[in-house]
Amino acid sequence: MFIEMIGIASLGNTTYVIGSEQAGQCAVIDPVRDVDHYIAAANKHGVKVSYALETHVHNDFVSGARELAAQTGCQVGASASGGLLFPSLRLQENDDLAMGELTLKALHTPGHTPEHVAYLALEHGKPVAVFTGGALMLGGAARVDLLGDRLAPLLARWLRHTIQDKLLLLPDDVKVYPTHGGGSFCSAAPASQGGIPSTIGQERQHNPFAAPMDELEFVKFALTGLGSYPLYYKHMADINRRGPDVLGGTYRLASLTALSVHHQMEEGSVLVDTRRQLEFNQNHIPSSILVPLNDNFSTWIGWVIP
């Protein structure tokens, strides 16, 4: 069995490639749309991609599961109650995906979203790792308010049930691989970004969401201190449910002359200047918007460009 972690710094997330070299198969958990890294990881281990698995209907990015399916022929697997509108394995509680000595078992883990699932990895039947999405992060859990403030208290109650009555019942040495990290706006608390994987035992000891709390205390805790999140989030779940367009790979930006850019700006195109702020402030094109190219680039694009 092997596990490859592929960090997506621009989202504060991590994608996982887990597979069996004996079986020649792997699954990719919570892929983004530039899927070449996953295909390279599968090739490195000499396996084919059998599954693109979603832990939940994402609010913070466009899923790459459909892209990966189009490029590799793998199957998309997602929570049955997520209501995906394109062909996928509709996974329910305790559904198993077998890849040689490795089995991935779907666990319904509502909280961050209602349909959320975690994937428990068993090696020869022994639980060794759990891919928790946003249900349990390193020192935190994903926020429950992204689907509306009215639902948030209900989702918080489910999150408590998920963490305390399901995930913490796993053996202490089971490794914890969350999708959301501290850099994600899906994070409810400042969770640590490094240190993946943690273990169930470590989270039981150190994660404030794992502390013994009655339901009311937990709900209050889960709803406190939540900041704002990028505006683009509001479009993501709908795109992910309907099925994102397949790109067939990343592409190159077209080269445009100054006069063409000028013309397109007059027609309403936005010019984004990706240089550092000090360069921009010294000299820039009138009406251009500054968004420096760093790990937060897409977050700010999605937040400030209507």
Partner: protein, 212 residues
């Protein structure tokens, strides 16, 4: 969307980061950068930059500018320039109509990046009386012992919760019926033919618990 971006490696990063959040149609980049722009006889402009001591002098002598702090609200509450106004950068575009055009505005944040982005948005809005603190910001102001405050200096408007994120056409045309939250809570049987839209039975038993 068109980009001013220095090199090919940055183009790849731009495309990767943006397709991840659904920007599939990016127009391209300005070939030759600002030099090409100037060579075509097109104008450039600059932003007015301001350093913290100069801002302190302006504030201290009254009739100062409107100090606009564009950090996240929780950062603002932890400590900010006394008398400054907090509008998160992500919400600035929605507040442009309410920001007076005859009052000079100084944008600040923590490091100078968000304040510079804010400056570009305000300049694009046709304002010429914008100054940008583009090196350091509120935390440095506080550590220098300049006048600061914590929390919200004045009460905020209290409102019911905002509308639901991801509002979409309802019912979803042609899509499978999905369980409502009520059905999940009560553990109701799904409608005929809807079994596939149902989670395992075990979770319903637990989820049906009443608050204690």
């Amino acid at each position: 969307m068109i980009f001013v971006a220095p090199d090919l490696a940055s183009h790849e990063t731009i495309v990767r980061q943006l397709i991840r959040i659904g920007y599939d149609r990016l127009n391209g980049y300005l070939s030759g950068g600002l030099e090409a722009w100037q060579s075509a006889g097109l104008p450039l402009e600059m932003s007015q930059r301001l350093e913290l001591p100069a801002l302190r002098d302006q504030v201290a002598h009254g009739q100062g500018p409107l100090v606009l702090d564009v950090r996240q609200h929780n950062e603002f509450r932890a400590g900010h320039i006394q008398g400054s106004l907090n509008i998160e950068l992500g919400k600035l575009s929605a507040h442009l109509d309410g920001l007076p055009r005859d009052l000079p505005i100084v944008t600040v944040c923590a490091s100078g990046m968000r304040s510079s982005i804010a400056g570009s948005i305000l300049q694009r809005d046709g304002r010429s009386n914008i100054q940008v603190v583009d090196e350091m910001g509120a935390p440095e102001w506080i550590s220098r012992g300049y006048p600061s405050a914590t929390g919200d200096e004045y009460p905020l408007v209290q409102r019911p919760p905002p509308p639901v994120l991801g509002g979409r056409p309802w019912p979803a045309p042609g899509g499978p019926h999905r369980l409502s939250v009520g059905q999940l809570v009560q553990g109701n049987a799904p409608h005929a033919g809807q079994k596939s839209a149902h989670m395992g039975k075990e979770s319903h038993v637990h989820l049906a618990r009443k608050p204690q």
